[in-house]
Amino acid sequence: MSKIWGAMLIISIAVALFTGNVESVVSSIMSSGQGAVENMLGLVGMMCFWNGLFNIFEKTSAIKSFSKVFSKFIGKIFNKKELNEKAVEYMSMNIASNIVGIGNAATVNGIKAIEQLQNENSNKDTPNNNMTTFVLINTASLQLIPTNIIALRAMYGSTSPSAIVVPIWIVTAVALTVGLISIKILNKRM
C-alpha cells in the first residue's frame, strides 16, 4: 500500500516539476481534500442508516436462515477453519447488499466482515487468504440490476436501455471467475 500510494504522489509531483505545472500540485490537493470531505458528508447519512437497520436485522432470528443461504457458497470459497459464525453472517449481508445494489450497506457490512476475518488472522499487518479472497469478491460488481447504467442509457436515448443487463451478468461472471482463480494462485505465491 505504502509503495503504491507513495509512487502515485511522487510520480505526480515529479511530472509537475518537470512540466512546470507546479501550481497544480497544491491546488489539486486542496480540491481533492474538499472533494473527499463532500463525498464523506454524502456518505455519512446513508452509512449510518444502513448500519442502524442491519443492526436490527442482526439481532433477529432471520439472520440465521439468511446467512444459511450464503454459507454453502462461502464455505466452498473460503477456508472454514478461519471463519467464525459472525464473519459468515456479515459476509452474507455484504454479498446480499452488493447484489441488491445498496452500496452503502455493502460497505458497512464489508467492514464488519473484514474485522471478523482480521480477528482470526495471526499476522495483523498481512491479510490471510480469506481476507484477500473476500476483498477480491468486493472488487467485482455483483449488482444484479445496474440501475445507474440503465438510467444513463435511457437519458442518452437508447432504444432499449436495459439490453445491457444480460451482457453485464456474463461479463461479471467471467471477471469474478477469473479473479477468484487469480487470487487462488496468487495466494500461494505472494
Partner: protein
C-alpha cells in the same frame, strides 16, 4: 419490471422492521446504536478515502496519468479496443467518478446504442473501483500489505473489458 425493482429496497426495510417488532426487539434503540457505529466507521475510513482521493487527483491534474497512458494507448488500440474506450479502461479501477464522466461523454458523443456506447456501459456496470474498495476494506482493519489482491483485481477487470469487447463485437447485444 422497473416497478418491481424499485420495490425491493423499501420492502426489505419494512420486512426488517416487522421481524424486529414481532420478535419484541427494541428496534429504535438497536437502530440508533447501529447509526453510532456507522458514524465511527465513517470516521475510521475517512483518512483512507482522503489518501486515495488526493493521490488520484494529483495523478490527473499534474498530467502524470497521461504520461503513463501514452505508451499504453497504441497497445490497447492494437487489440481492437476503440479509441474512446481506452481512457475508460485505464481509469475504471482508479476512480468511479472519473470513469462515470468518461462513460457519459462516450454516450453523449457516440450515442448510447453505438458500439463504444454499449462497450462503455457494460464495462462500467460489470466492474468496480478496484483500488478504492481495497483501500477502504484493508484500511478499516489496519492491513498494510495487500499481497495479490490488487493484481488479481486488475486481472479480473482486464477479463471484464475483454469479454465486454468480444460480446459487443460478436453482436450478442
Amino acid at each position: 419490471m422497473n416497478f418491481v425493482i424499485m420495490c425491493i429496497i423499501p420492502l426489505f426495510i419494512i420486512a426488517i422492521l416487522l421481524i424486529g417488532l414481532k420478535e419484541k426487539k427494541d428496534i429504535f434503540k438497536l437502530f440508533v446504536e447501529g447509526c453510532l457505529e456507522g458514524l465511527k466507521m465513517v470516521y475510521r475510513i475517512f483518512p483512507f478515502i482522503l489518501a486515495i482521493t488526493i493521490a488520484i487527483g494529483l495523478l490527473k491534474s499534474t498530467g502524470a496519468l497521461d504520461f503513463i497512458l501514452i505508451p499504453l494507448r497504441p497497445l490497447l488500440t492494437k487489440f481492437g479496443i476503440p479509441d474512446d474506450i481506452v481512457p475508460l479502461c485505464l481509469m475504471r479501477p482508479l476512480s468511479g467518478g472519473a470513469s462515470m464522466s468518461v462513460v457519459m461523454d462516450i454516450l453523449k458523443t457516440s450515442g448510447a446504442d453505438s458500439i463504444s456506447g454499449k462497450m462503455a456501459a457494460i464495462i462500467m456496470g460489470a466492474t468496480e473501483t478496484t483500488l478504492y474498495t481495497i483501500t477502504i476494506l484493508f484500511g478499516a482493519v489496519g492491513i498494510k500489505k495487500m499481497r495479490g489482491v490488487l493484481i488479481a483485481g486488475l486481472i479480473a477487470d482486464t477479463a471484464a473489458i475483454i469479454t465486454a469487447i468480444i460480446l459487443v463485437n460478436v453482436g450478442i447485444l
